[in-house]
Symmetry: D2
Amino acid sequence: MTISGGGRLPETLDEAMAELNASVDVDSELWREDIEGSTAHARELARIGVLSADELDSLLGGLDTIREEIQSGAFAWDPALEDVHMNIESRLTAICGAVGGKLHTGRSRNDQVATDLRLWARRRSRELLDAISAMAGVIVDLAERELDTLMPAYTHLQRAQPSRLSHHLLAWQESLWRDYGRLADAVERLDECPLGAGAVAGSGFPLERARVASDLGFGQPMRNSIDATASRDFLIEIACALAILGVHLSRIGEEVVLWSTREFGFLELDDRFTTSSSMMPQKKNPDVAELVRGKSALVIGAATSLLVLEKGLAYGYGRDLQEDKRPIFDACQAVWQSLRALTGALATARFRRDRLQAALGEGHLCATDVADWLACRGVPFRQAHQIVGQLVREAEVRGVGLEALPTEVMARAHADLVCPEVREVLAPASAVERRRVHGGPARERVVEAIGEARERWAAARNAQPAR
Amino acid sequence: MTISGGGRLPETLDEAMAELNASVDVDSELWREDIEGSTAHARELARIGVLSADELDSLLGGLDTIREEIQSGAFAWDPALEDVHMNIESRLTAICGAVGGKLHTGRSRNDQVATDLRLWARRRSRELLDAISAMAGVIVDLAERELDTLMPAYTHLQRAQPSRLSHHLLAWQESLWRDYGRLADAVERLDECPLGAGAVAGSGFPLERARVASDLGFGQPMRNSIDATASRDFLIEIACALAILGVHLSRIGEEVVLWSTREFGFLELDDRFTTSSSMMPQKKNPDVAELVRGKSALVIGAATSLLVLEKGLAYGYGRDLQEDKRPIFDACQAVWQSLRALTGALATARFRRDRLQAALGEGHLCATDVADWLACRGVPFRQAHQIVGQLVREAEVRGVGLEALPTEVMARAHADLVCPEVREVLAPASAVERRRVHGGPARERVVEAIGEARERWAAARNAQPAR
Amino acid sequence: MTISGGGRLPETLDEAMAELNASVDVDSELWREDIEGSTAHARELARIGVLSADELDSLLGGLDTIREEIQSGAFAWDPALEDVHMNIESRLTAICGAVGGKLHTGRSRNDQVATDLRLWARRRSRELLDAISAMAGVIVDLAERELDTLMPAYTHLQRAQPSRLSHHLLAWQESLWRDYGRLADAVERLDECPLGAGAVAGSGFPLERARVASDLGFGQPMRNSIDATASRDFLIEIACALAILGVHLSRIGEEVVLWSTREFGFLELDDRFTTSSSMMPQKKNPDVAELVRGKSALVIGAATSLLVLEKGLAYGYGRDLQEDKRPIFDACQAVWQSLRALTGALATARFRRDRLQAALGEGHLCATDVADWLACRGVPFRQAHQIVGQLVREAEVRGVGLEALPTEVMARAHADLVCPEVREVLAPASAVERRRVHGGPARERVVEAIGEARERWAAARNAQPAR
Amino acid sequence: MTISGGGRLPETLDEAMAELNASVDVDSELWREDIEGSTAHARELARIGVLSADELDSLLGGLDTIREEIQSGAFAWDPALEDVHMNIESRLTAICGAVGGKLHTGRSRNDQVATDLRLWARRRSRELLDAISAMAGVIVDLAERELDTLMPAYTHLQRAQPSRLSHHLLAWQESLWRDYGRLADAVERLDECPLGAGAVAGSGFPLERARVASDLGFGQPMRNSIDATASRDFLIEIACALAILGVHLSRIGEEVVLWSTREFGFLELDDRFTTSSSMMPQKKNPDVAELVRGKSALVIGAATSLLVLEKGLAYGYGRDLQEDKRPIFDACQAVWQSLRALTGALATARFRRDRLQAALGEGHLCATDVADWLACRGVPFRQAHQIVGQLVREAEVRGVGLEALPTEVMARAHADLVCPEVREVLAPASAVERRRVHGGPARERVVEAIGEARERWAAARNAQPAR
């Protein structure tokens, strides 16, 4: 982090350079954290005697005033002052006079901005954790509501086997669970305070860094001043965690779009999450899901940007790092908006149970069950698979389901298949219940899974610090 | 592109959905093009009789008023009106009354926004072409100015062979030349007008699309209405071209940073392109070059975003495409700022000729020349290379240059090396002149290359449409 | 490009370093081009007198032998010899004796590998151009075959307006057309020969580079030796062009997957492009389309890798560039396989015309036409849109199509709607024909478009050099 | 995961499709895990009575035979058998006869490959954890060895403040520490077994999944069969962790390259980690560091590929997922090679202490100290910074260091600066010791940091399971 001029250089930048250089339109996002960090630093300066009690009071009063000015919209941001830090410091000096110039004692932009960014990342990540958890809660509620709605499970987007809507919804929830864990891990890993690292080689003043870290709610100070000012992997880690989360939201969005088509017809979004067309009066488009898919592309791009940005840098702060803010700000915003809107859309969506259940009727969904049934009778599974495959081919030629094949066709395929029990095997509802393994769609298993999920998420919520 | 409600859906969106849905803070960037496109569409509606002459006058007057309002800052953008198109259409209806509702006849948001984007992309790309050309011009000027400044050529960041500063600068210019070509190709390829494609299947009104295309300065209308509204590869192509350009700017920036170190000391930036430190009063940092490197990471991320965004979509407009604007806007802005600032920085930089030439003195830069000289005498090059490699090892042990090795060492390596001509071979200045091949650093070749470059760029500038 | 040791350094690398360093398992892909480049270089060495006629004969004979050995599988690749170049040079010396050591006179690995890569890229790109063109040909044939198959056009994956299958297929073809143009532009831009650039500062021998360039079929030699050895934007440009092409193939693949679902049922792939399941005997999965989607993700990653790889480098060859081969080889291979398999799959697929046409029946696809019809009667389009939107809402509540709404409902909405002509407006087949604008789906327009496409592609094929 | 044909489809694929479809050249990497997974599955089939004891013995014997064949190179991989799984199953049936066809009972390719991938990812990640830890160990050893080597700390690649080489090295180690944590978290998160999930909806056989999970060393079975077969975020998470690690290795590589230049001259790599040039006999290039930088670009591309690959997929296995193997295999390999070679290079590198210390002499490195000293005397830091900045400007004009400025210049700047103590302030060695804050470069702090690091890494190593 840099300032133009100082005593050494002239005060004015070239105009094109000034435009390239200014960041306040982006980094003003950090104003809360900048004031928070300055407050803690001022207190420490007072504790080590650099500031008198009066000076401290003056500075804290000035920072409070600025906070109010910004919140009320009265603060005049000035791009000529380059960044959020100089805007605030400059206003502080205007309010407090010369003592404003003492605040930056024993501190550099480099440890200041690293601290601001960690405070910001921690705050935003915790908000995102809450939003993930809220979305998971809505999904588990839906799973409970739709416990008795059967539907096909798909692979390759082809109907595969009989399953249960709530089982499908719980799969979404499992993805979110890991997303939650990744983001929580990232928050834990960034819980160290850079303040006191100075520009690169540590502050020359006897700051007690652990005390400042504690004031700011950090677990400990960072262990190395060069690392503290040069490293942004905490941002990349968050961006990667959000990119993966974005992939999951996009996959859910993909299914919402698909299920909202006339062809699938499994889902109807509430009107308030859709829009119409400027030309076609009949349209009701699943925009919420499409926008979520679209936003996730931006998050992947943001993660890429951050990786690329840091890759080429030697250790020690490089000005390239100024450009880390836009990607991480955008990524957090995109995911935040996506989580909230998609949660609302799911909470208000109507599943069309008739269509879901009807879809079990076509596609020979119980073919596996017949092969399994033969395997239980000692036919090696590979052979059983072959036998049933040929029956399916026969059924397709005749344009009927497996259950409608004539007895002689069944008999020719395998003598056992004449047994009336085969009709039972071919009933989708019983096929679902046969999948009683842990993690399967049988009703009892899903009821357990819902209970387990509720407990797990509640425990996770309780483990987060209150705020 | 969509509008909330219409007659079919209720007018209000869920609050979180409204936030996800609104784009006017980003797409207001398109206001010029939206007015331009609407003007052309209105004229065509009049030509086919949908608008009377009076109605056309009213609409064109209204659009002029809006243009002035936006330029003067008087226009009140409203996020509740979702996007730039509805903001303008809504204001137009306020100004013109019911006839405002006729403008959208035979048009959809989908062909409207595709047209706006192409107009915008064409305008911005042409500005960028000018900026690339200007930077190349500055570099060629520098190459001329520094024609007689020798320096080492590097590979692996190790000194390699004697060369010439202007030869190095011309390498930068060659990269920019291809960047210019790529962007110009992209502009040419996007020179087709989507207007009249409607929502997806073409307008139902007898618009003469070629006439509208021509009014907007396009070469022709797009050939397929589905492609016209669903495809954004013209944006990806620009983003990729800019990402490659960004890579080149970043490489130049890398060299500026390196050459500005105390260790290299080849270059001194003008103060107006550097900044100091908030903590360290002595610092003069090459921020311009670092920011250019940093911005280029964002452009790579933007190209990635656009590729990812489109990858999953079926043909026919999907709302995901709303998210294509931010990446392309940001990428163009980042490259524009980078080009302009870096051009200024190079134009005002001071090359430290003494340091550049001094760097020829160490590193055995003429070792290749000795091997070549032996090869000319019939020693197979591989063997000559081996012989000289051993001499270098010997010189390193002794801590001297090749030219300072005792005669007996040279003689032991190869009898011919005792010849006094070898001293000449070991002189860097003559080594540069020996590299007289086309594209080499010999003075005469570089003079030619400068002339050729000037002509080439001038021809390219002349080939661009005047504006 | 480097060689271990030489005379200066010991011959052995650390074991872990040797593993990191070896590239022959990847770059042996370049063997044809390496021999081609060496052949041209040897001829030039003979022309300038470095090689005698006998020496030239010996080297060319040796290179021929090696070509045959590699083609027949008899060549023993040795990772200890690091790369393709040393493997071939080493074998050449074994065959020809000491004269083998003369081949590298006036050449460096740096200009050698840059030449090999351009030759390779040109060859592979031309193959890819042919494959794109072949796919477009198949699509145009399909468009002709399915000229009279109607289907809905979709936006947001919702049925939008009546259209025509061949119109949809031609949209795919339009994307491929731009892809073809991008790749052809890249081939044209790379048509310059690096040979003679040496390691970085040009060869010290009086090679006539234009002559060598011409021997290798290049338009001209590269203009700057530093640029020639340090720049790989020609690879990035190809990778970006392929990534965009990959996006289009993925979009087509997405539609094939979708249309192959039981729910859409628009398309049936030939069995030879599908596979079944190891567990579920009934499955017929559209693997060809899914693999094409998957491969395209790899191509996007490859383009990213290449951008990132070059971004951090100063000018002058850096060893990082060794890693450019795997991404570009993989990208070309992935796209090549995708083009060929998808072309075959489309050529043999069966469109289910009944299902496509049936899909026009539901979804109020002619709502726009009614609004347009009102607009033609002077109702401002915005108001007409509102009126029809309310009719759609009414129809949805009643569970009927617009055409089935009672007359009094129509009359209440707008008096004109009682007119019998409205029934005609609501017929999908006539709605398609109403979209007669250039680029629209009316039969006549599509017939023209097919003819125009055939001519355009034929001209492009003719413009390519014969081979 | 799919198999061609089965009973339903013909056995032969189209040739181009077969090429697209085959994966055995890539996924044979999974052979160990495939045998391991099949062994556990066979045992469970025996426990639930699907296999008799004899059948189990036969299958286990067959699998052992295959393991030996593959290890010895005797196994004949056949691309026509598509993938690793069919190659092994086919060979098993050849060895064991019809009972081989029973192994796949109650299992699908989908849960089989998900299990293989998790086993593989766990094994490779643990190897990588060891390699990270080994590299950190080498760095801490170096830090101890170089405890008394002073050097400048840099920001913006400009000399900033006096510091200590070991402090710099410990910054590298801190980055690796977080990389270790990220990868360890990923391993912990993937510690769940998919086996028993079947194709998508769970196995129809009463497998006790927890028992199988335990046999394979997993903590528990996955909780949802759809998630188990459709999700690959465990691979993306690893790829992202490796991409960040790659960024750090690249940054270290960047410094090795820089420090190896003649201009910096801080570091000399051992010859066994460098290579020479094919043309320039004097070259000793820092290839190890450049290759590490290059490989890291590939890892970023791999992470991008995996994100893109999954983004578009609905839940339930899609064949696109076949393409997840190449990126993750390549990423692990690239990082593994990089870690090992860079570790060796650092362990054998020679730091040139004289050059490092000499670099403290120029650049006004103690300017901050003078400003701090004034601040301690009550001058507001901003003013002190200004004063010293002007002194630097003066010193630059005169071409001297701050310490050489005449007394009257100092006095004019600020009266206190005449004090002899200022000379002490300007001594780099004492400036380093003044930075005694936690995480600073003072000798005592660094000694503590070395001890703390040793303990931390030892604890981490102990926490890993023995193997």
